[in-house]
Amino acid sequence: MENKKNPGSPSVGEEDMFYEYWLASLKPLSARKKRMLRDAYGSARAVYYIEETRLDQEIYLTDRDRRVLQTGRDSRNQEEFLRGLKESWEKLQESGIRLILYDDPAYPSRLSRIPDPPYAIYVRGELPPENQPAVAIVGARKCTPYGEEMALEYAETLAGAGVAVISGMARGIDGAGHRGALNAGGKTYGVLGCGVDVCYPREHIGLYMDILKNGGLIAERAPGEPPLPAYFPERNRIISGLSDVILIMEAKEKSGSLITADQALEQGKDVYALPGPADSALSQGCHRLIRQGAGILLSPEDLLEELGIDRIHLLKKSDRNKKMLESPEHMVYSCLGLFPKSTGTIIEETGFSPQKVMEALVSLVLEGYAREVSKNHYVRAGKSSGEKA
């Protein structure tokens, strides 16, 4: 784990960093107001010790903001408050979480260019390198195996070509995107809608640890914050902010992924959407984006070309389909697609007996040609068989 000392902004001494932590973690105060305050007074320490009368002169502050700033400054328990603050700041340092302010040289330059950049970000692990392209892969949490497989494939190819893959570590597409990048041995970065030390969803703890080793986790919220619904749209702006290009793999007509797409457009990033079957509810959002002028994803290689990325690193895709399959298995395999099919349907389509179909399906699963996504529902598996996001 990274335990680099925070360089801090030039004007702030090391011992005063916990004041910065205090200001950064003040919740209801917007990033813009925090920045205005800090710019006006030079450091968070100065902001902390502002006199009440001066505070009243800052006309952009509401009464509530003033109250928030007063928190803990009550003269009676001020010392106690500062001690507590210091303790939690030290704890944060020990756990390897870095606090990076907007004026810190380490602050991602892509992020600082968006209309509403976060005042500060908390980072575990690394930040996406500045000199490498970064692509966000986002989409529905409840996705189809098709979307999942595609997210895996795009992430693998992109990460294999040295692109940083950024996503939100959510279930479904996000998870598949991270997993694909990890499979290819590339770097991937998760932007969380909760504290950076909170793993949400819980079952992604394995993914969380892997991302930590091969990339990093980023959050705007203070460590320990629970994942509240309101935090997710703000998180989405960071996902798109950290990336050069945003890929939407699957989205329903009303989807959080479309918010990310809107924000990406606002930030001037390119948006690409993956087409799907015309009748798939989970591709409606993508299709609409394409109609509105988003780029269309034809293949991962095509995308790399469009991004102008050298394909040298690309590994040759092993063509598994060429491998000879026994004939009933071949028949069953040709029935399978990327949308789940039930055993009953396959029995009807092939005309085989249930025994034979079940046998063939299990053979295909064991050989890695098929995957059972739900009880007795099978899909064709891609090249990374056995890997589940």
């Binding site: 989970l282 007996s353 249930p354 699963v365």
Partner: protein, 515 residues
């Protein structure tokens, strides 16, 4: 004569205890007094008997009549003591020669006009009388055919106390019921058949495998996919019950008073569908003196739990012990009761709260909801289910009648049953003398003995174990299922293709449910 004794019987659970009904007449205040740990319906017998006797012109003398039901430590319930009490009083009044009552069991309820009414539990009572070496049983006429099923002891039916009095005095002869007629009852015309299920080949096949090995079966599918329809037809493909099994099943129904008067023997395997609001007591049996519950009524047949996820968790958990031991044990302060519960469990559930998963276009549930929904079933319960199969929504082609108006040909229950019977016979001869009846009962030790794999099979299982992340428990279940599939093919050895099919039917481990 101042004292007289009549034999009767008392049902405790399914056990029958012999009861002595003693009557004594002495000088004192005129009264009919009864003792012997009686429940209120037995206490009321005094009034019924007195009135019935008066209506057949028997005048009770103005003396103190004492009736005792021994042993006094057993609680007596039910109306079946009316007749023995009446007979004991008649005997003590000297109206019946006492020699005629020796080794004679009497049960029956009395009506006020002296006619004898049916009582539950005749079959176990007669069975016990035979075991105790009694001479004959006197039962209500309506219970005659049922009692005669026990065979080896004359069962005499009476319809009126006057008739009984005449018989006991040797004035008339009553012919005992013969058990033959009842035993040879033709299996009734079945009104359900597998040929009525269109399509759903995969589910039918799984049902066949489950029936052949006595495995428990879980059907997962959207609403209206025919899960209940298939479950209801599973008894029709189970092998017909043997005579002893029929008697066992009839005993349970008899105790609850559920047997048919004319065709008492249960020759069809029962199908018990339990609503999900069922209580623990109703399911496994209960009461102060426990009476059998649904799982004992399903003994020898199928217990169907529809909407498995809607059942209360504690209710499902009580099924674990009976599923393992095939009997159920209910403990009360005054004793432990054991009921047979060798049933095949068939359960059905939706894949998610709305029922449409994995069709994401229709399914409106969040992953969390799906997880929570499936989480309602505990892993230990799932572990007792060997086969799990998905029932997809029925296709239109399957429902449509063909153009000529005749439905497409589907296999009938009879054809499937023949295959199941063959597989069961193979199992019977293999497990002869081991106490195992079917493949489902194999434990991990006997698995090694009976489910040895060849090299190809072992290689396959090794691969499956790793690729599918199986647990030891799932592994055993796959072996058991594969054994049954091999038996269906009449193959001695378990081949790779049997294993593969069995892998397809495995119950998914809970952590992989939903995603």
């Amino acid at each position: 004569m101042a004292f007289c004794c009549v034999t009767s019987a008392c049902i405790q659970g399914l056990q029958v205890e012999m009861i002595r009904v003693e009557a004594d007449i002495s000088n004192g205040l005129p009264m009919l007094h009864m003792v012997g740990y009686l429940s209120s319906e037995v206490k009321e017998a005094a009034d019924r008997v007195r009135t019935a006797l008066r209506n057949v012109d028997v005048k009770l003398p103005p003396k103190k009549i004492m009736v005792n039901l021994a042993p006094a430590t057993l609680r007596k319930k039910g109306a079946s003591y009316d007749l023995p009490i009446a007979v004991s009083i008649l005997a003590v009044l000297g109206m019946i020669p006492p020699g005629r009552l020796e080794n004679l069991l009497i049960v029956g309820e009395l009506s006020l006009d002296g006619s004898v009414k049916k009582v539950p539990g005749i079959l176990p009572v007669v069975w016990q009388a035979r075991k105790a070496g009694l001479r004959a049983c006197i039962v209500p006429e309506g219970n005659g055919p049922e009692g005669a099923l026990a065979e080896g002891i004359p069962v005499i039916g009476v319809s009126h106390i006057r008739q009984l009095l005449a018989y006991l005095n040797g004035e008339i002869e009553l012919c005992p019921f013969s058990g033959e007629g009842a035993g040879n009852v033709q299996t009734a015309e079945k009104n359900t058949d597998f040929s009525e299920v269109r399509g759903q080949q995969a589910v039918k096949r799984a049902a066949e495998v489950a029936a052949a090995g006595g495995h428990n079966l879980l059907l997962v599918g959207p609403p209206g996919s025919g899960k209940s329809m298939i479950a209801r037809r599973i008894p029709t493909i189970l092998p017909p019950p043997a005579w002893e099994e029929s008697l066992e099943m009839t005993s349970v129904y008899s105790v609850l008073g559920l047997v048919d008067e004319r065709r008492p023997l249960i020759t069809e395997r029962p199908f018990r569908e339990v609503h999900h609001t069922v209580t623990k007591a109703a399911l496994i049996g209960g009461g102060r003196t426990p009476s059998p519950g649904e799982i004992s009524l399903a003994h020898g047949g199928v217990l169907f739990l529809d909407e498995l996820t809607e059942f209360q968790k504690p209710v499902l958990e009580v099924l674990r012990q009976p599923l393992e031991e095939h009997t159920v044990c209910i403990a009360r302060t005054h004793g432990t009761y054991r009921f047979p519960a060798n049933f095949m469990l068939v359960a059905a559930m939706n894949p998610c709260p709305c029922g449409n998963y994995p069709d994401l276009g229709k399914c409106s549930c969040t992953p969390g909801q799906i997880r929570q929904y499936l989480g309602k079933i505990s892993q230990p319960f799932l572990d007792r289910i060997d086969l799990c199969v998905e029932a997809p929504k029925a296709a239109y082609e399957d429902l449509r009648l063909s153009r000529e108006g005749t439905p497409p040909k589907e296999e009938t229950s009879r054809e499937i049953r023949d295959r199941v019977c063959r597989a069961r016979r193979i199992q019977e001869s293999r497990y002869l003398g081991t106490g195992i009846r079917a493949n489902a009962q194999l434990d991990s030790k006997s698995l090694e003995q009976y489910c040895a794999l060849d090299r190809e099979g072992e290689k396959l299982m090794q691969k499956a174990f790793q690729a599918l992340d199986l647990t030891a428990r799932t592994y055993h279940k796959i072996l058991k299922t594969a054994r049954t599939i091999a038996d269906l093919e009449e193959s001695d050895r378990i081949l790779a293709r049997h294993l593969k099919e069995a892998v397809g039917y495995r119950t998914m481990d809970k952590k992989y449910w939903g995603r």
